[in-house]
């Protein structure tokens, strides 16, 4: 975690549970991270690891019941935003933190013009006149590169393609100049060429407005392209946290290494058979006592089954939740180290 800058958003020990008919699911089990001003933090992980639940609980969007934030603290510019009154929370949402979602086809109200959907946010937060809000909505649409914004502003979502709708979502989320933009898998539902455009657009807007961004994705390619810092999540916990270079080139946690070998490469020389991570994530109704990755980890040791490892400082601002960083870990660590060295060598070549 960047100790040099004062973080704009600090999340500590966040725990979220859901009551279901099958029992209580511990979806997020103690997540810490910090977001620096103007930086992008990517949260990566497979489906069901708690990425979306984490950010939705920051926004107070967890449906409750069945959801419950059982502990933790979220500080925005030093101010606690968990447990705000609904009214105060509404002043944070949309104004200080903007959010865009995965599926632009269903995330816009089908029976309201896009203009109204954008001006609604502006009017609620900034209290400007209808005409002024409309003017700003048109400007926003131009900023997200929607052609003929002046006519498009009065159209309905069904008259837009998926990529265009995601642009509108972006325009809506930045309408009140939020300090933080949360993008929850913003390109997952789009086809590849559109993905690139949307990512570029997000990057431009972020740079121009010096916004901080939390980007949730399961696509390591997107991470490499967008992120400054990366948090790798597994079974409701962050297992590795570090700068994008560290995560990609000096992966410390076996899960991150596994994710990387499962990622397709563009370069033909490096393209080999993709190696999937065997097995499936643990049952979060009853999370394991030890390391959640134990069953799938090629380097598992006895201690891993017994106790959950803490986050170790592997390097400055690079943390990893794995027992192999313990000084007593020997045999399997050797294998892992050589494994890592090999990858580093490949990348340097």
């Amino acid at each position: 975690m960047n100790s040099t800058d004062k973080p704009i958003l600090e999340v500590r020990d966040l725990k979220v549970e859901f009551d279901t008919y099958g029992g209580t699911v511990q979806a997020v089990r103690g997540v810490h991270f910090a977001l620096a001003k103007g930086k992008t933090l990517a949260i990566v992980g497979e489906s069901g690891c708690g990425k979306s639940v984490t950010v939705q609980s920051l926004m107070g969007l967890i449906p409750s019941p069945p959801g419950r934030i059982t502990s933790g603290s979220v500080r925005l510019n030093g101010r606690e935003i968990l447990g705000l009154s609904p009214k105060e929370a509404n002043q944070v949402r949309g104004k200080q933190i903007g959010m865009i979602f995965q599926d632009p086809m269903t995330s816009l109200n089908p029976t309201m013009t896009l203009g109204r959907q954008i001006t609604e946010t502006i009017r609620v937060h900034d209290g400007v006149s209808d005409a002024e809000a409309r003017k700003r909505a048109i400007e926003l649409l131009e900023q997200v590169q929607i052609p003929e914004a002046r006519t498009r502003v009065d159209q309905y979502p069904f008259q837009f393609s998926g990529g265009m709708r995601q642009r509108v979502m972006i325009a809506m989320s930045i309408a009140c100049n939020p300090e933080i933009l949360i993008a929850d898998e913003p390109t997952t539902a789009l086809d590849v060429t559109i993905q690139a455009q949307i990512l570029d657009l997000l990057k431009t807007i972020q740079r121009d407005r010096r916004m901080s961004m939390i980007l949730i994705t399961h696509d390591l390619g997107v991470v490499a392209r967008m992120a400054d810092d990366v948090a790798v999540m597994y079974a409701g916990q962050i297992v590795e946290y570090g700068g994008v270079q560290q995560i990609f080139h000096r992966s410390a946690h076996p899960y991150t290494v596994g994710l990387r070998s499962a990622m397709p490469q563009n370069d033909e020389a490096q393209s080999k058979m993709l190696k999937p991570i065997e097995g499936s994530p643990p049952d979060l109704f009853d999370p394991p006592k030890g390391c959640a990755y134990f069953d799938r980890c090629p380097h598992a040791m006895k201690v891993c089954a017994a106790r959950n490892p803490p986050l170790w400082d592997v390097q400055e601002d690079h943390l990893s939740r794995c027992w192999i960083h313990h000084k007593f870990a020997t045999s399997s660590t050797e294998v892992f180290r050589s494994n890592r060295m090999g990858q580093e060598w490949e990348i340097q070549k």
Partner: protein, 314 residues
Amino acid sequence: MLKYILTRLLSGILTVYFIATVTFAAMHLVPGDPITGNKATSPEIRANLERKYGLDRPVLVQYGIYLKNMVNGDFGISFTQQNRSVNDIIRSHFPISATLGIASILFATFGGIFFGALTGISRKKIYDRSIMFGVILAISVPSFVFAAVSQFFMTELNQKAGTTLLPVGGWGGLSHMILPAIVLGLGTLAFLTRLMRSSLLEVVNQDYIRTARAKGLSPTRIFFSHQLRNAVLPVITVLGPAIAAITTGGFVVESVFAIPGLGRYFVQAVQQLDYTVIMGLTVFYGAFLVFMVITVDIAYGLIDPRIKVSARSA
């Protein structure tokens, strides 16, 4: 939009034509005729009457005359009510039925949306349970039972109060309308409540509601500008059939409350096999319903922008 309305009107006219033809055929297939009544008629009188009403001519010719007159807006003369024309019956009694119908449609629609929304958004189970219990009751119990029961209780109330709070029969001012309109609209109200409830529960979990929350809108605002409009759409689609249900239900309620509406004449006419009145009223009601359904569809287009444009491009 104009093209859409024209197409709908054209198909509506076709529907009315079919209704007219089927009614005509049915009338002539049913055994007996209006002249065979309580009183014994001599063959001479019978022949005279048949000539007067054109019943002595071939069926196809009668059909032709019937269609021609109908196009001119003339439904003929009643067989059983002396020299009274069907048009006259409609003119003097339809406004009463229509007023009652409109009152109960309004009651059912707004009531249904209100109660449906209440059960849909209320976190308290008790509201939901009690309203849903009422809904099942209102759907299962036929309107004539409600009519009689409401009359009974209203009479009791009037006696207790020592004055007529609400009249339990007849037709006059607004006060006469309240009880029958409620009884008539109750079933439809219950049906719409259920529809609105399930529709709202579906809308509440939509992604765009989450978006609205992420924008920092207040729950009230989200409810009125995002949930309600989308949830009301399915309710509007069934308004056409609901109007039909209320109109036909009106026959029974009108006779229980002794309201001089069109329904009573319809029932009477069927009992007496009064050809012209049956055919006239059937066609009139058919045309009315077709018109209402088209109106509802156009209204739907106004509320849901997606319908309007697809109709324009069609």
